[in-house]
């Protein structure tokens, strides 16, 4: 049951093979059984069973949608009405959201069952899920290694079959990097494709929610529900949502793939590189032509990102001040003490580091040298992508320089941690969509292939990923014991 796709489960629910309540209960059992992975921050058992019951009623009435009755989970960055929404932080450990994020609302409307809220790096700042106030998440492929981050709980849960599929968010790689390290499929849509309303902001101009699933086919179904214009989010784009499943079986003959030489140079683990070459060969067999391209601005992505994202986060996180909600220090002596201690105690180290970096970058006298310059670089990177994507249909490359690293291995070295997003960050700066799909193994751990497309070309990416998954079975492999 746990290995079935959304479509198969939907058939099972309709044929009476199992009910949503049975399916949900089975997943809830698995979550308990594998609680050692620490993938979930909150398991909403009662709510899930209630939703499953309602889904069974809808199924019986014949007004069910494809996701009706399917047990999913939400990254704990999405506000869920009446349910604790922590963003992985002590700051929001006591925060029961009084409203639903648009994405949550859409899944509720579709009749999906929410099993719970998934662990993540604190305020989505991290690449290993180790910055979570609720502790590190373990990678089900090797529990001594990290699942990646910030959507580490999501990646671990989907890989371990603790949810059929789940949501993630991606600011600099937070969907793709954990998807790669946990051997699942993750899609970061075009900026503006999925509403950010109710998704707790890290870096507003980069944040984008997306599906994390076991297959491209499931990702298409999930994205169908998530995507669309939202009048509550001014940056969401009012452009029609195509049928993402319709083109999955299109053939790839004549597909032009570009491989940026900057993605395959120094720093990329050789076994990972070899695995990716094999995957790209598979695309050649599917009829694609492959050319090397150059995107010289890619190397500027990390420094630009670590100005822009912290600058935005330094303002976005100012609302966590101990005044209206969230963590408040004990017995504040005065206003300044209330602010200083509530924020000092409520935020973890990495969050504070980024707030400080951002505050510095925006300060009088530094703004032009950092923020303005970073924005210029961002424009250059966007131009680079536009140019490349006018010459090739998609860009392919690694998602991460290596496979999953050990828990504790990089947490003491922020720069090294930041470099684990070296292949993903530029995509967020440009705002284009990108996927990570399982492409094999290196040292026994999953390797992800990144596929980058043009603005709003999610349907094309899903098609390209799905075709690969028709001729390979990497995406169907489950970690031992799960």
């Amino acid at each position: 049951m746990y290995n079935k796709t959304i479509t198969e489960l939907a058939q099972g629910l309709r044929s009476g093979e199992f009910s949503s309540v049975e399916l949900t209960a089975a997943f809830l059992d698995r979550i308990k059984q594998h609680s050692g992975l620490n993938a979930y921050i909150s398991v909403t058992e009662d709510l899930a069973l209630q939703q499953a019951k309602a889904a069974d009623a809808r199924l019986a009435n014949g007004d069910a949608e494809l996701l009706t009755g399917i047990p999913i989970a939400q990254k704990d960055i999405f506000c869920t009405e009446g349910v604790k929404t922590t963003c992985g932080s002590l700051m929001l450990d006591n925060f029961i959201a009084p409203y639903n994020a648009t994405v949550v609302e859409k899944f509720n409307h579709a009749g999906a069952v929410m099993l719970g809220k998934l662990n993540m790096d604190e305020f989505a700042m991290g690449s290993s899920n180790e910055t979570s106030y609720y502790g590190a998440v373990k990678n089900p492929w090797n529990t001594n290694t990290v699942p990646g981050g910030s959507s580490g709980g999501t990646a671990a849960a989907v890989a371990a079959r603790l949810a059929v599929c789940a949501t993630g968010t991606d600011t600099g790689g937070s969907i793709r990097q954990p998807a790669a390290l946990c051997g699942i499929t993750g899609l970061k849509p075009t900026y503006g494709r999925v509403s950010r309303y109710g998704m707790i902001a890290y870096a507003s101009s980069l944040d984008q929610g997306g599906p994390m699933t076991r297959s491209a086919e499931d990702a298409a179904i999930m994205l169908q529900t998530m995507a669309g214009f939202d009048d509550k989010d001014s940056t969401s784009v009012d452009t029609p949502v195509p049928d993402y499943s319709a083109g999955l079986n299109n053939r790839l003959d004549g597909l032009k793939i570009g491989l940026p030489k900057e993605f395959f140079g120094e720093g990329l683990n050789s076994e990972v590189a070899a695995t990716l070459e094999t995957a790209i060969d598979e695309y050649r067999k599917l009829g694609a032509t492959v050319t090397e391209i150059s995107m010289p601005t890619l190397k500027l992505a990390i420094p630009a990102y670590y100005v822009i994202a912290p600058a935005e986060c330094s303002a976005n996180l100012s609302r966590f001040d101990g005044v209206r909600f969230g963590y408040r220090c004990e017995n504040p002596a005065d206003l300044s003490d209330l602010y200083t201690r509530s924020r000092g105690e409520g935020f973890g180290k990495e969050v504070k580091r980024r707030i400080l970096m951002g505050t510095y970058a925006l300060s009088a006298g530094y703004y032009d040298a950092y923020y303005i310059k970073a924005q210029k670089i961002r424009r250059l990177i966007s131009e680079d992508f536009k140019k490349a994507l006018s010459e090739v249909d998609v860009i392919m490359g690694p998602v991460t320089p290596s496979t999953a690293f050990g828990i504790g291995e990089k947490i003491g070295n922020p720069i090294e941690m930041y470099l684990s997003d070296i292949y993903t960050i530029a995509i967020n700066l440009a705002g284009v969509p990108a996927m990570s799909i399982p492409a094999g193994f290196a040292q026994g751990l999953p390797v992800g292939l990144q596929i980058i497309g043009n603005y709003f070309a999610e349907d094309r990416l899903l098609n390209i990923a799905h075709q690969y998954q028709q001729v390979t079975d990497w995406h169907q492999q489950a970690p031992a014991g799960f």
């Binding site: 100012s318 001040d321 909600f325 703004y367």
Partner: protein, 478 residues
């Protein structure tokens, strides 16, 4: 004031825009609700919420820009102004910094019969903060976020004013303008129109500006004048006694009539402005501007000139009547409905009506005498049904009750007597009864004429047509 010194003043005025809902949320902007009942998730700055710009606020800002003949930015950007304060829910205020919606414009003021043009540097849109409440919280602070997110237009002038009097004239002119345009209710008690003043002094003839102090929180015309004058004196005294003015923010204390230091430049916040990534740039094209231009009402200055030309009014009456759009509309309606001479209508409105309204602390929109009822009265005066004097009596009745002028005239029998026979009989009687005065008049004491008019009017309870009385008396006394 010391004549060696010249004062330089610039004003920053915050006008609350009269939109129904807030600038970035759907919550109501109505004043005076129970604390925190008009603050939605967006206004509270809850995690995950996003701002969505209220188009009406943009509309109003553009109307204002056109009224001051300013450059309307085709591309303007909202920015975050970062600072911590308990009544600022997000820890930043959404404002505009580098690219405001309204650029350079101007406003003409009249002081002592001289017209002066005051430059307006810019006007930008921003959200208001909430309110911190210190009373009744036993040493703690209460926060009311009803006002958080209310749209403001911050209007920044050039340092073009040279006296407190000019500053007040500018502020009044702007106050009149925003109400004319219908973009701000101008209610200063409720904080809908607030002013900060930048004041400096320099030796006469010096080109460079002196160091300025910013006076915050001056919320009436009277206080603006007092606060600025106080600050000018303070600065001059300071410099003359060998000190130097420091750049700082000062708070005006109306009770003590003084300004006191709030924070110096060194203590000032670094607001770390940067473009708000949650909001798209505001794009304004020629089509939008043309639409707004077509809806733009006649502006006070133009209206005043038209009143002087079309209605033959003196400058003072025209100024008073165009001081608000409602009053100007009232006047024009009365002229049209009564068919009376415009100057008579103007005299009645600027005289009796405004006096009564002032006494009752009402403005024209709350007048108990509607334009129909005043026109009804003026119609009867101009067609000689009643005299102007009786008219005052009828006006009293109009003010007190709900009857029309015709009903009052009918019920009280106030119709003017134009029957020459009846008037003649009374005149004959008065002449016969007062031989002494007749003698005096005939011997050249013209003043006595008034006595006869008075007597006749008294006898006829004021209802005689005064013109007729004058004419007949003159004949009879010859």
């Amino acid at each position: 004031m010391n004549s060696q010194w010249e004062t330089v003043i610039g004003l920053e005025i915050h006008a609350q825009l009269a939109t129904q809902s807030k600038i970035f949320s759907g919550a109501s902007t109505a004043y005076g609700a129970e604390p925190n009942t008009q603050a939605c998730a967006v206004d509270l700055g809850l995690p995950g919420v996003l701002p969505v710009l209220n188009e009406e606020a943009v509309h109003m800002a553009v109307i204002f820009g056109m009224a001051i003949e300013a450059h309307i930015a085709p591309y303007s950007v909202f920015a975050r102004k970062n600072y911590f304060y308990p009544d600022l829910p997000k820890g930043y205020q959404i404002s505009q910094m580098e690219l405001p919606i309204v650029g350079v414009g101007h406003l003409d003021i009249d002081v002592d019969g001289v017209t002066k043009r005051i430059g307006i540097t810019r006007a930008h849109l921003e959200e208001d903060a909430g309110k911190s409440l210190h009373a009744n919280f036993h040493g703690l602070t209460g926060i009311d976020l009803n006002r958080a997110g209310t749209p403001l237009l911050e209007i920044v002038s050039e340092p073009d004013m040279r006296s407190a009097k000019e500053a007040v004239a500018y502020m009044r002119k702007l106050h009149e303008l925003v109400r004319y345009l219908g973009i701000c209710d101008g209610n200063m008690q409720e904080g809908s129109f607030r002013c900060d003043a930048n004041v400096s002094v320099r030796p006469k003839g010096q080109k460079e500006f002196g160091i300025r102090a910013e006076i915050k929180n001056i919320n009436s015309f009277k206080f603006v004048e007092k606060a600025i004058n106080h600050e000018i004196e303070r600065q001059i005294e300071l410099i003359e006694s060998g000190g130097t003015v420091v750049q700082e923010t000062r708070l005006y204390d109306a009770d003590k009539d003084e300004t006191r230091s709030m924070r110096s430049k060194e203590e000032a916040n670094d607001y770390r402005y940067f473009p708000d990534p949650d909001l798209l740039p505001v794009l304004i094209d020629e089509v939008f501007k043309a639409q707004i231009k077509a809806q733009l009402p006649e502006l006070p200055q133009a209206k005043k000139q038209r009143f002087k030309a079309d209605y033959n009014l003196d400058d003072e009456s025209a100024t008073i009547l165009t001081s608000s759009r409602q009053l100007a509309d009232y006047f024009e309606t009365v002229v049209k409905e009564s068919g009376s001479e415009a100057r008579i209508c103007a005299n009645w409105i600027t005289g009796d009506l405004l006096a009564a309204l002032n006494k009752a602390d009402l403005d024209i929109s709350g007048s108990p005498v509607s334009h129909e009822r005043l026109a009804g009265l003026l119609k009867r005066i101009s067609d000689d049904t009643i005299s102007g004097k009786i008219g005052k009596q009828v006006f009293e009745e109009l003010w007190q009750g709900t009857a029309t002028a015709d009903e009052i005239i009918e019920a009280k029998g106030l119709k003017q007597i134009t029957d020459t026979g009846a008037i003649e009989a009374i005149i004959d009687k008065i002449i016969a009864d007062n031989p002494g005065q007749v003698e005096q008049y005939r011997s050249g004491k013209d003043k006595v004429f008034g006595f006869f008019v008075g007597q006749v009017m008294k006898e006829m309870q004021g209802k005689a047509n005064p013109g007729e009385v004058n004419k007949m008396l003159k004949d009879k006394l010859k």
